[in-house]
Amino acid sequence: MNMRCAKVIAFINYKGGVGKTTTTYHVGCCLAQDHGKKVLLVDIDPQTNLTFLCAPVEEWRKFKHREGTVASMYRRFQDKKPLDTKRHVWRTPIKVGGVRIPNVDLIPCDVELLGEDLGGGSLTGTFPAMEALRRQAKEFLRERQFLRKALAEALNSYDYILIDCPPNLYLMTQNAIVVSDFYVITAIPDHLSTIGLSILQKKVEKIGKLVHSANTFAGDSRRTETVARLGGVVFVKVRIGGSLITNMHYNTMAAVREFLGESACFSAYTTELIGYAEAAERSCPVWLADTPNARRAANKGEYQSITDEFLERF
């Protein structure tokens, strides 16, 4: 029996609409279809977009009623009940033309997670009283251990676990950062996104420090778990003029490479192509969507290139 130990990668950015979900989805499908990897997609964004890229709404609803979602797992976690992860894994949900795509499983999300995501997720909170410091630290850590517990069972069943995070740094994203080996930032190469990148890096570092401090205050300084390291930045929706990247985007990409280091950025990127949206409507990866725009997008092989780099890095 092949004992896998999955690499866990979180896709994050607190800015919305920057291709986190599309990238998580397409890299996951590409790893499975082109490279024979066994992949678990985890949707912890209450927008549930990754889930709906994998299956239509009505199929999701049936699964939700039958087995549950991340939201029900989190409720069990809060009630200190066993999480029963395997039950919540949706085996091969992606179906195209009646044929299921193998080796891609999903833990689906639910909009019900929306309220849960806010609870205790503040990064600016301090432990209010010295007497309760240890208790508070333990609770702080426990709240950020949900995904670690949930995915513990799955680590030996997959090569890669890809987590699609919501556009914020609240509790669920912090959980993802704690459980992941690496985090990948997706970003549009414009001015506002660039500002966000430096803020994001700082915040993730802060989460790491808080976890370390909490371990110390909880009286368990032996724990050496580290939070996710920056795995790379993937530029998305890059604008092309003619056959070249537009000056603005080119300059921004260059500035980010200089700021974060050349190796911090993926050299492959995606461009603004309507084919991705058309494929999303059909709940399938762009190379399996049967529209002229999707075929044009697929022919560019953008996500194949990104996945090749992904495999080199992780």
Binding site: V57, E58, G98, R282
Partner: protein, 192 residues
């Protein structure tokens, strides 16, 4: 005395040789006759050309004609734009090019409304399966159904992608209603 005589004799010889050469180079009567004929033909051609040139009008002569051509062109353009004038001049509008594609009849449109209502009760796979029936759903009816679901598709869309778009549109629309809590009927079993 011998050298002087030799020189005079050689000069005479040279002269006679040249004279002989000259005589031999002269045309014969036949050749002269042929040349006269050819020159006459050439002269005749050039005369004709000269006469023809005289017959051609000059640009100055044609100014009036040029104005008349411009006026006639303008008149025809106005006639094409004005039905009354067109009738007078019997000018006809060029027929508008019809788009290639399948024409949708009024009957197709009416049937499409009830079809879409029944399709909305089916799962995605069932919709696809039903619409594959070419006898029951010829292309015109498929296009009418697509239109009824709010789809805008290119005129030349083939059958298979059209079926897929219709099924996707119906399933996704049902999903949107479900998420917004507006659904009224329980959807059919989705495929396993």
């Amino acid at each position: 005395m011998g050298t002087r005589k030799k020189t005079q004799i050689s000069k005479a010889k040279d002269f006679l040789t040249r004279l002989d050469t000259l005589i031999k180079a002269l045309p014969t009567e036949a050749e002269k006759k042929e040349a006269r004929g050819k020159f006459a033909a050439l002269a005749g051609f050039l005369n004709e050309l000269k006469d023809s040139l005289e017959l051609l009008p000059s640009r100055e002569n044609m100014q009036e004609a040029s104005k008349a051509v411009a006026w006639a062109t303008d008149l025809i353009a106005r006639a094409e734009a004005n039905p009354a004038m067109a009738a007078v001049f019997r000018a006809r509008r060029s027929p508008s090019r019809k788009r290639k594609g399948v024409a949708i009849s009024e009957a197709d449109i009416q049937k499409a409304k009830s079809e879409v209502a029944s399709l909305r009760e089916l799962s995605g796979e069932a919709i696809r399966s039903r619409l594959q029936d070419e006898e029951r759903y010829p292309l015109a009816r498929l296009r009418a159904i697509a239109s009824e679901t709010g789809l805008k598709v290119p005129a030349k869309t083939a059958r298979e992608p059209l079926v897929e778009q219709i099924a996707t549109r119906i399933v996704n629309y049902r999903g949107y209603q479900m998420l917004s809590g507006k659904e009224t009927t329980e959807n059919a079993d989705a495929d396993a």
